[in-house]
Every structure is written in C-alpha cells, then in structure tokens.
Symmetry: C2
Subunit: 243 residues, 2 copies
C-alpha cells in the first residue's frame, strides 16, 4: 500500500520509496531462487546495483495498493539484468510503470567484481527469462555533464548509512529529489529517472550535488565525493525527466 | 516485516520507521472506527500529534515480522490518549515495546483546537478502553533545557514536507537521530524517546537543533525555527534515553 508516510506532498508514492520497493522485490526474488543476500553475504559476496532506470506513466496514489513483479532478463559474466513491472494490485492490467536494473556481484573484502556464472550452481542463468517484454529504454550510462553547477554539499548522516557503512543506493535518490522544491514536484511529476552508480561513499565523506538543465528540459545531476588528496570521485549520476 | 531499507546500520528497525508504523496503525484504527483522517479531513478537521513516547526493550531485527496493536485509552475534551504494543508477529508474547501518544483535533483552516466529544457522534469516547495496561510512563512534556547548544541548522526539504505543507512529525525524529553517528547508534541503542510537539514548521523555514546531555546520560534535544521578526519558536523537544 502507498502509505501516507511513503507519499510526497502530491499525495502520490515518492519515487525514492518506489525505488526501495524495487530493491526489496529483487532481494526477495533472489532469496527465493537461492542467490539472495542472505545466502551470498556469509560467503563474502554481495550484489551491487550498477544502474537503475524507472519510468512511470503515473505513481500510485495515497492508500492505493500496488504490486511489483520482477524477473531476470539475462546473465552475463559480470552483470545481470533484472526488470520490473509496477501495477495496480487490484487491477493488474493498469500499469504504473516499469524499471530496469543492472547488477554486479562483488567480493565483500576486496570490493572486486566476481564472475556470476557459478552463482547458485548456475541456477541464476537458468532462472533468466529473456522472452518477457519490458517496454522502456535500457538504463543510460548518464554521461558526465561538464556544465553542471554545484548546488549543495553535505555530509552523509546516520540515516543514510547501511549495514556495510556505505551510503544506501536509494538515499542518493532522496538527496537528489530534495534539491527540487515541493512546488516543483507537485507541478512537474518525475516520469523517468536513470541512475548510474560509481564509487561508494561512506560516513565522514563530503558529498556535493551538481545539476544542469539540458535543452530538452531533462535535468542532469551528479553526486561526487571530495578525495583526501584533492579532486573528487564520481559517486552517481542521474538523468531526471519531469513531465 | 523489518525490511532492510527500514533498518539502520545495526540491522535493526530504525526508531523513525517504528514511529511511522505507530502513526499508520493509529490512522488505520481511527479509519476503521469512523474517525480517521479520510473522514475528518473533508470536514475541515485533522488530528495533530501532540506528544509521543516510545519505549522498547529491543528493536525488531532485519527481516523480522512484527505487529502493532493500538487502542484509545481515554478521551478528554481537547485531547485523546492512544497507546500501542509492538510485538513479535510470530510469537506475540515477545514484546518489543510500548508507546503512548496524545492527540488534539484541530480546524484545518484556523489551526485552532476543536472539542473531541462530538466526533463520530460520540463514538470515539465509546471506543476507549481504559482497562488495558500500557506499562510505560506517560509522555513527558520535555521541559526546555537552557543549557542546550545548537549543533546544526537546516532548511526542511521536499522529502520532509507532507500534503499540508508542514514538516512531517516523524521527519523531526529522523533529523534528531542524525545528529548522532552510526557508531553511537550501534553501541548505544535508543531505548526510549519522548517527543513534545509545539509550533508547526514549513518549507522555507530555518530549523536549528540543540542538544544537551543530562547528568543521568539521557540527551535533551530541541528543534526551533527562526522567526521572521527575530527570535525563535519551539517546534519540538525530545528526551532520548540510550542504553
């Protein structure tokens, strides 16, 4: 249910909360197939979200019941492609939107990519269903935008940090949505967001958000972290399309 | 379920998310009794949370299923007292904690208190059950602490704002928890929080958080908003007891 607390000032589910529901659905599905975090974490492996695109025609309204369906489209050596359908739980033919995601598997101590083929004795590849349709464009790499201007800098806080000490993937989206006013969100509902994740960030880092409105009206946003030796590293880049 | 995203870096449900679950339970219960927001808002009335105390012996762990039970203890002319039990959904005799809350009914245009007696044709008073036990102390008024020092100032953002343009009650708690580090939260689990709400705050306000550690180790925290003519108004006061 789109609980009031998970809705924004427009009385619709917030995009950050929808993103969280997608990641939960991915975790529950992977868990039921034998390659979820609960099985892989004790083996020193974890899934890392590399890219995410969410595109909606509408967002669930306050108190509406919605469903999230997910499946693996394909499995490559170092990446797996997972898609989602978000629908009205009471009228499944009413589609709110779709999402596509790209995941890597990494070693939790070295943070280096691991080959995905052997996961769950190859069961992950057998679970893929490339025949199902997901009628939205693949997640963009979101190219760096040299014209972006820094609009805010902040230090991640307790609520941003996950059990591994990293800033949670969805919390970046929350911070990005917060650079727009409530009035903007009410008059310009977000219809598509592409997110490309780069370096991880931690408690104690200083993050900066920069933005640039493109000629077609979409907004390019980047989060970078200051490096101790000077300079900055790309943490994640967003392309936001408002209606 | 204590979803991973609703847990903090200690792999336990965050107190802010538990607070949200309590408010949802209150809304669903009131709705089912005929005096919920969906019925009262169109009449130009709304419930306002005046005080809240949550006290736990433990927090649900990641993936644990928990239940929230709520009932009205009593109804006064201008306030109603609502209590909560948070338990293990699979083993209801295992209690995580209790909560107590005090609510006022206000006119949404004048923001003035309304008499509660007549709500739902007096059904609210008939629904009260003063015989049930809620074995925690009543919410404290949380007296102002003249020794508190300002630790951070911030402007509420899109994600803080509810449909009425006010900062959401639980978002204040999130901001307060964020003044403590992840390490602090892991080593000092929050066992009780008392919150007393005062003036409402809005998008565009500047809020300041001040804190003071008391001799018994509990922490007094206040959020105030700068007034345009100078000075500040009390928005909410917290008393936090960590273990």
């Amino acid at each position: 249910m789109a609980e009031p607390f998970h809705c924004d000032c427009s009385r619709h589910l917030s995009m950050a909360h929808l993103g969280n529901c997608l990641l939960n659905a991915a975790d529950f599905h992977a868990d039921s197939c034998g390659f979820g975090m609960r099985r892989l974490n004790p083996e020193g492996k974890t899934w890392v979200l590399s890219r995410l695109a969410i595109e909606v025609v509408a967002m669930p309204e306050e108190y509406a019941r919605f469903s999230v369906e997910t499946w693996i489209e394909s499995v490559m050596k170092y990446f797996t492609y997972r898609n989602f359908i978000v629908a009205d739980a009471e009228k499944p033919s009413r589609i709110y939107g779709y999402a596509r995601s790209v995941w890597a598997l990494i070693d939790t101590s070295t943070r280096r990519p691991l080959s995905i083929d052997g996961v769950a004795d190859g069961g992950i590849a057998r679970s893929a269903d490339p025949s199902r349709d997901c009628p939205i464009a693949r997640p963009s790499r979101v190219t760096p935008d040299s014209e972006a201007q820094t609009v805010v800098s902040f230090a991640p806080s307790y609520g941003d940090i996950d059990v591994n000490g990293h800033v949670n993937s969805i919390k970046y989206l929350e911070h990005v949505l917060n650079i727009f006013s409530p009035d903007w969100h009410v008059s310009h509902p977000l219809r598509r967001v592409d997110i490309a994740y780069g370096a991880e960030s931690h408690y104690g880092d200083t993050l900066s958000i920069s933005r640039h409105t493109l000629p077609d009206g979409s907004v390019s946003v980047a989060i970078s972290k200051a490096l101790t030796g000077g300079g900055a590293a790309d943490v994640c880049r967003f392309l936001l399309q408002f209606s």
